[in-house]
Subunit: 211 residues, 2 copies
DNA sequence: GACTGTGAAGCCATTCACAGCT
DNA sequence: AGCTGTGAATGGCTTCACAGTC
């Protein structure tokens, strides 16, 4: 307990644990051991205990963890005890898909603003939200106090848009464009690179072939 | 050189280096030092050299790396010296976006088959490819000798579809559904969990607030 | 002088193994 | 008896620092 340097891998697993616990809740399970959670998410039980121990003592020796209780703790640790407004920049194929993606809404991420610089797209509706011109981006971030931006713009526009978001006061960016972005270290940046994932598969297939 | 255990982090960086080199090629740059590459992709120069050294001696001391040459090596190491046929299972929002995603095509990943179990979607065209009923999945994988499957189905269907793909002889799966999948260890599995990424951001925002 | 390739050191995450609680 | 919480041991990745090469 009482540590401030949490491994990123731990944080990612917490997110996975939390979703698995939600599933257990649906199934009416009251109690789960670290071993049961481990099985469910594909890690070791020691790993589960270590990860949870960073944040407190949530379990009962001899028994395990109360599912509802632990789920609540994890939601709170992950900052999911309230909804997040997010702005989506870029309403192309990928952006549109993310805007409509149920998985975000289910976990409390609410796409409240969508902007694009393509006049042909502006005005389209994605779910409840109308695509607005990119010029209103700064204003929307400020007036809605949006903390999180999701970037699905072409690589060539990515740094530009990022600079504007940063200037507007965004706190975190999830970047889907295949470009390395520079942000001040007050802004949290995560990159999701879809083709990198396929290329890792490709690499492994290639290796296997040569035994 | 001559090592068989390559860190996954290294493989992911190789993919990023390769894309950065492509960019340099476009800009007409002939030579790049490890420091230049490091700057471009946001890692340390020692890291770049270590990563490359797993696979050979590609550089020239005092000079750096020839961009075209290194790019070629990386493409080949990553198994990108030929195109890959991939099958996309699930043509909902996310599936459709991925089917049309330029980033895949650019890197030689060719979505040659798309299947879905929703009769309302079957028959739709996504780019050049028509969505087919899920019943043909096994047959297509076999007849087209497809090695890679991309899963964008609801969590509840994910394991089922996976079992069928494995049985059909798929070699690698990129899973976008938020479920832990069980596959035999002859099949390579990677998970891309979109909400996990947002939740890591949320966690970090939460931490920062408490200093 | 510049820059690579690489052993050694340092650091961080995971696994082990067991004391301690219920 | 069962299962958590945790120090210690292990393993793996990254950084350091420099000898070697152009």
């Amino acid at each position: 307990m009482k540590v401030y340097k949490i491994p990123e891998a731990t944080v990612m697993r917490l997110s996975v644990y939390s979703r698995f616990l939600h599933q257990l809740l649906d199934e009416g399970v009251n109690t789960a051991s670290s071993e049961a959670i481990a099985q469910g998410v594909g890690v070791s039980s020691a790993q589960v205990r270590k990860d949870l121990a960073y944040f407190g003592e949530f379990g009962t020796r001899g028994v395990g963890y109360r599912v509802d209780e632990l789920y609540g703790h994890l939601k709170s640790i992950l900052g999911l005890d309230h909804d997040w407004n997010i702005i989506l920049v870029g309403a192309g194929k990928l952006g549109s898909a993310l805007a409509l993606y149920q998985g975000f809404a289910e976990r409390g991420f609410h796409v409240s603003t969508i902007v694009d610089n393509d006049k042909k797209i502006v005005g389209n509706k994605l779910g409840m939200v109308t695509v607005e011109p990119i010029e209103v981006m700064t204003q929307r971030v400020k007036e809605k106090d949006i903390k999180v931006g999701v970037l699905t713009v072409p690589a060539s526009a990515a740094q530009n848009v990022t600079d504007l978001l940063v200037e507007a006061g965004i706190k975190a960016i999830l970047n889907f464009s295949p470009r390395v972005l520079k942000v001040p270290n007050t802004v949290i940046l995560r990159n999701v690179d879809l083709s990198v994932n396929l290329e890792v598969l490709s690499f492994n297939l290639n290796m296997n072939k040569k035994n």
